[in-house]
Symmetry: C2
Subunit: 204 residues, 2 copies
């Protein structure tokens, strides 16, 4: 039996990231959960921010931003980046900032994964601004990187130890591996198997 | 020390959902990871699909879709919905379908959480179509719903047991609660605390 809970966007769970942008010439980091993969093969990600967010100004000015994936040991600092606004507090020294190819997308060295992104599309709905970004480079701490078939990959998510968030206002860690993509459903039939434009685009 | 991994959208981890749409008058369910909260207070979610996806046709036709959150016991069936395309296989009978207020957004009763959505914005980047949807109703299995301060809520994500996915091509379960939102960073300072338009919009 279903109950109606009203207009609540219960997508469970939500990845916690820090969005980096230069605002008035200084790095700023905002904690958000409104971040997603938009495509793998075109390497697109999206972030969504309120029009009044300090970060929004910087993304619009530069046409660039970064997505920084914190690990659970950075939980307090990540939460702090959500508690305080760049309008009020200078967050430029919270992390060791580095820049990549784009030059204007500040990245937090302490986060094990940093994506520098160029804005390639925007969508405004009400006061929310969604920025679609092309990932021009993924920077990853070398301890998490391994080589597979001549390609550098992150082999094990659990070692990376990212932070989840949910609308019960709690943070969570990632649990155990429970299956392999494109394999668990094999027993249910192979007919109609998809190619690279298949339904499940967030897969490499 | 950072290593460059190229153009890979390493957002970790990714929530696995089934996008429901009526295509040619029949329900279809596609497994995707390209789904996110766009805003909480306006109750917006986004899904991203390839222009050739069977599901895309249905969303464009009806201006509606659903987001269905499977639990880990549905892993094989969810994976199957990503393995096979609606172009080739009729997926209309995989789940018990029900409809809500919108009438054209099919929802899978077996999934503990179903969001019926009306398209309020679209963004095309290359061959990818992102659909921003207003959640007009969240339908949740009553066993996961509790009352808090006169409001119906989902109190505990771990009981819901959703599926994560990562670009190491593995599925994961959710781990333990590790903290409370807006609380973990308190010790780092209270100045500049944010209001309802704060940085961390994916919070109620």
């Amino acid at each position: 039996m279903k109950k109606k809970l009203g207009r609540i966007p219960y997508v469970y769970p939500i990845p916690i990231v820090l969005v980096g942008a230069n605002v008035n010439g200084r790095p700023n980091y905002a904690e958000i959960g409104d971040c997603a993969v938009m495509a793998v093969q075109a390497a697109l990600v999206t972030v969504s921010l309120h029009e009044d967010h300090y970060t929004t100004k910087g993304i619009v000015e530069n046409g660039t931003y970064s997505v920084n994936v914190p690990s659970t040991r950075l939980l307090s600092l990540a939460d702090y980046c959500g508690l305080v606004s760049g309008h009020m507090v200078d967050k430029s020294t919270l992390f060791e900032t580095f820049y990549g190819e784009l030059g204007t997308a500040p990245m937090a060295a302490e986060c094990p994964v940093n994506l520098e992104c160029r804005v390639v599309g925007t969508l405004a709905v009400g006061k929310r601004h969604l920025f679609a970004g092309e990932v021009v480079e993924a920077h990853v701490d070398e301890e998490w990187v391994s080589e597979e078939g001549g390609r550098r990959v992150i082999a094990d998510l659990t070692r990376l130890d990212p932070i989840l968030y949910a609308l019960d206002n709690r943070y969570y860690s990632v649990g155990k591996p429970i299956g392999v993509g494109y394999a668990e459903g094999e027993g249910l039939g192979r007919e109609g198997r998809q190619g690279q434009t298949g339904e499940r685009a967030a897969r490499p």
